[in-house]
């Protein structure tokens, strides 16, 4: 079974095309600048060179037809006929409380995703546009929605209810939802396999450290708490997002600087985090370079980043009543030995012993990076959200998930 996985943004579409009988990606790529001049499709078949195609790509419908054409093309393609695309899996950011697992897309599902736009105004509309585009370009081919929030749906109310009037939860759905669920799920499963233990016997803290960053407490395979909340702003320090802070601060600043809602929003989402503290960059590599070169505030940003992560790991160990593994994934988690080292520093008292040698070699690959004697194992695992989407899509088409 061949499955096309799409991740649709406002002006971009990322895709991967899987042969799910062998579980291999036959091709991957992305289209950027949809609806603008200079739109480009970048496509990489698994066995050939990357190609770039530019064209007039006005909307998501045209964009999906470009993806299909290149998958079919004689030189760069991987299939001969449209009918070899058996299903499409979509990443959908917000599933609210309605969607606790992946689902086959119907008109009803689409209208529910539409109803969730209020909760994810920056993502759900574009995810929905991708689905509508496939309805046009690939009619009669089943489509599946896989939600970023779904993995966190088993959190107990103690983890998801905020300390504000309960009526606001009822009225507007104000609660913790959590994000990056597909990634937390994937790495927790992989970690269990690498450790050779059943998932349902493990307590893990999974750290997804990319542009956005979140940590999940995965207790026996279930996310019982996660650091991102109602929106992806809460929790860890990120490249440009503040993460946790006293909510009164923003009210205070809005008053002092006479900021509008929009200005306050971009202040916290785009001008804060590592770029805000350091003034140098939102990119961890540049932060580390600057810190090494003696930039005080870059060093401070790096230290705060790891300190806050460490606090969360401790909190989640308490919440789960134990900890067997710490998993690092996504851009920074997979590629930064320094961040992993600083985060694990001083944790020998609960049984974390990082193997410095292994840690320094684990760059973009799956590895156990703690010492053999470490009671709590530390792992670096590259995430693969697309594969999870493809698997769920396959299972739904085969009637395994209903």
């Amino acid at each position: 079974m061949n499955i096309l996985v799409l991740n649709c943004g406002s002006s971009s579409i990322k895709y991967q095309f899987f042969d799910m009988d062998k579980e291999v990606a036959l091709a991957k790529g992305m289209i950027s600048r949809i609806g603008m001049t200079g739109a480009v499709l970048t496509h990489k078949p698994f066995d050939r060179k990357e190609v770039k195609v530019s064209g007039e790509i006005l909307d998501h419908i045209v964009a999906t037809s470009y993806v299909i054409s290149i998958l079919l093309s004689a030189n760069h393609g991987v299939i001969k006929d449209k009918s070899e695309i058996h299903a499409v899996g979509h990443r959908v950011v917000h599933g609210g409380e309605q969607f606790t697992q992946s689902v086959l897309i119907t008109d009803e599902v689409m209208s529910e995703i539409r109803n969730l736009i209020d909760l994810a105004p920056l993502h759900n509309p574009h995810n929905l546009r991708g689905i509508q585009a496939c309805n046009k370009t690939l009619p009669n081919i089943p489509q599946v929605a896989v939600f970023d929030t779904a993995f966190h749906c088993m959190m107990p109310p103690t983890a998801y209810i905020y300390g504000i009037p309960h009526v606001l939860y009822k009225k507007y759905g104000i609660r913790r939802y959590g994000f990056h669920g597909t990634s937390h799920f994937y790495v927790s499963e992989r970690a269990a396999e690498l450790l050779g233990k059943p998932l349902n016997q493990l307590k893990m803290a999974t750290c997804h450290l990319g542009n956005g960053a979140s940590i999940s407490a995965v207790n026996r395979g279930i996310s019982i708490d996660t650091s991102m909340g109602f929106t992806p702003l809460e929790g860890l320090l990120m490249g440009t997002r503040s993460g946790d802070m006293d909510p009164a601060i923003i009210l205070h600043i809005m008053g002092r600087e006479e900021l509008s809602l929009h200005e306050a929003n971009t202040l916290m989402n785009k001008h804060s985090g590592m770029i805000g503290i350091s003034g140098v960059s939102s990119d961890m590599r540049e932060i580390i370079d600057a810190a090494n070169a003696g930039h005080t505030n870059a060093k401070l940003a790096l230290d705060i980043y790891c300190y806050r992560l460490k606090k969360y790991i401790g909190g989640y160990a308490m919440a789960m009543g134990g900890l067997d593994a710490i998993v690092f994934t996504a851009g920074i988690g997979e590629n930064s030995p320094l961040v992993r080292e600083l985060t694990c520093q001083g944790l020998d008292f609960i049984g974390v012993e990082l193997d410095k040698e292994k840690n320094s070699t684990a760059i973009g690959k799956e590895m156990i990076i703690s010492s053999d004697s470490s009671r709590i194992k530390v792992l670096a695992i590259p995430t693969n959200e697309e594969l999870v989407i493809a698997r769920d899509t396959k299972d739904i088409i085969n009637g395994i998930i209903k």
Binding site: G35, T37, S260, L267, K270
Partner: protein, 303 residues
């Protein structure tokens, strides 16, 4: 509607604000004026405005770069041929606007929609010089365009339902709430605000209160973001006066008579923020200077 090619004719303050707003939504826009130099100056002003937004945390350098990359300057009206929407924002002069619409009407395919940004002129009268009076509509944006979330969508006598629907969708794309108004002097916003500003000037003139206290009373009392006298300074006192005269001429009611101190200040060249002196004083970046307002004793009726 794939509103993916938009041409703005007129790179003045309103044209700049519109181009900035459109580009911010991720849509490409062409800013056209008589010469490339003028069009480029308009884009430089947009860059200034974006720098100001960055200083207010409203966006990042990367956002600014992306927004500016979507605005191209032009001095060639032929480019309007490829637009789905052409927006006119040239000076408020009936003859100039009629000439422009005539030229555009000859150039553009019949489905192209023309939007006029006029605040004063008759859409019906402008449309009459073209063969597409059903596809011309007014959209009265308020200055500063990027910040004011409302737009008056003005139907001329012959504007079609379809054109109105498309204009409303365009307003949505820009993140503006459309308010439907019919062609009539001052529409809603200008008709109501200008006499209010004029009344505040009468209150000042009659010595009821100081400029500062009048503004404070209205801001805190009725939830205005800006007091009426500061707002008049921002709009430009000459603009406020010409509006009063326009309403007076069109509607012949003495309530639209410009307040004598408004006339006096316009004659003195005290036009508000743009000249550094109005009811309050301003530095050259338009920031209000603090302090003593006793100079306005001149404008009061002495008791």
């Amino acid at each position: 509607m794939p509103a993916n090619r938009i041409v703005i004719v007129g790179a003045g303050v309103m044209g700049q604000g519109l181009a900035e707003t459109i580009a911010t939504t991720g849509t490409d826009v062409i800013l056209l004026d008589r010469t490339i130099k003028v069009a480029k100056q308009g884009i430089d002003r947009i860059a200034d405005s974006l720098n100001h937004a960055i200083a207010r945390w409203a966006m990042t350098e990367a956002d600014k770069k992306a927004i500016l990359s979507r605005v191209s300057p032009s001095a060639d009206l032929q480019i309007a041929k490829e637009a789905s929407i052409v927006i006119e924002s040239i000076p408020e002069n009936l003859r100039l606007k009629r000439e422009l619409f005539q030229k555009l009407d000859d150039l553009c395919p019949e489905e192209t929609i023309f939007i006029t940004n006029t605040a004063t002129l008759s859409i019906t009268e402008l449309a009459a010089v073209t063969n597409r009076s059903d596809r011309i509509i007014g959209m009265h944006f308020l200055n500063p365009v990027p910040k004011i979330p409302v737009v008056e969508v003005v139907r001329g006598l012959k504007t079609s339902d379809d054109t109105y629907k498309k204009a409303s969708e365009f307003a949505d794309l820009l993140g503006k709430t459309p308010v439907l108004v019919y062609e009539y002097p001052g529409y809603v916003t200008t008709r109501i605000i200008v006499p209010l500003l004029n009344e505040a000037m009468h209150v000042l003139m009659e010595g009821v209160s100081t400029a500062e206290d009048i503004d404070t009373a209205m801001k805190l009392g009725y939830g205005f973001n800006v007091g009426p006298l500061a707002l008049a300074d921002m709009m430009g006192l000459d603009v406020v006066m010409s509006w009063m005269e326009n309403l007076l001429a069109e509607l012949s009611e003495h309530k639209y008579n410009p307040c004598p101190i408004l006339r006096k200040m316009v004659r003195a060249g005290h036009l508000g923020v743009k000249t550094g002196q109005g009811f309050f004083k301003y530095d050259k970046d338009g920031n209000r200077l603090p302090g003593d307002y006793s100079q306005f004793d001149d404008y009061r009726v002495k008791k």
